[in-house]
């Protein structure tokens, strides 16, 4: 979507390796989110950020860490990838008083083999 990009779009990695996914926004939004999408589970929140260096855990944060050193970038790291982390990962952005839901990136399909 305009104003938010995710990279890479696809990635295959081996079990046990670290992986970093990047979310970049040009909207200057304060809030950024990482979700994972799995069949039968919808989208579940992994981590979110409410400002530079301000992050918090979502409902499925185990095995993931995040960093936000500047407003426009929010990184998601799988410290040691496992097959259970095979998923589609979405980044989303939202403003403080944004009542129109969020703007989502196009997603990253990650396969851990």
């Amino acid at each position: 979507d305009a104003g938010i990009t995710q990279s890479p779009r696809h990635k295959v990695t081996e079990t046990g390796t670290p992986v970093t996914l990047r979310c970049h926004q040009t909207e200057n939004h304060r809030y950024m989110y990482w979700y994972r999408q799995d069949p039968g589970h919808g989208l579940r929140l992994i981590h979110y950020s409410y400002g530079v260096k301000d992050t918090d855990k979502g409902e499925v944060s185990d095995g993931y860490s995040v960093s936000r050193s500047k407003t426009e970038d929010f990184l998601l790291t799988l410290e040691s990838a496992t097959s259970s982390q095979t998923s589609v990962y979405f980044c989303a952005i939202g403003g403080l008083f944004d009542t129109y839901g969020y703007t989502f990136g196009s997603g990253t399909r990650l396969t851990v083999v």
């Binding site: 809030y31 039968g40 919808g42 989208l43 409410y50 403080l96 839901g101 196009s106």
Partner: protein, 117 residues
Amino acid sequence: AQTVTQSQPEMSVQEAETVTLSCTYDTSESDYYLFWYKQPPSRQMILVIRQEAYKQQNATENRFSVNFQKAAKSFSLKISDSQLGDAAMYFCAYRTGYGGATNKLIFGTGTLLAVQP
């Protein structure tokens, strides 16, 4: 904690017909927002329609409308005159209205809609 339930994993509709997708939610809050998102095979998440809890009037966007029943905590999506391009996964989502760090979207598990020609 808030939860969102979509009890129909899959639905099918004939082209030009009307279909209703169900969504229920659980919350103790009085101020919140509800959304329907569409996810076509391209994987893009597209906002279809939103509803503010404090508004009694049901939201409408062209062929898409909702039936918001606040007391029953129900938020169904009606698609009229279904088109082939409506085929997608549809997600119902809840967001607290209080803003700040609690500003998170909670999603249902989705309903996969097929449109038959």
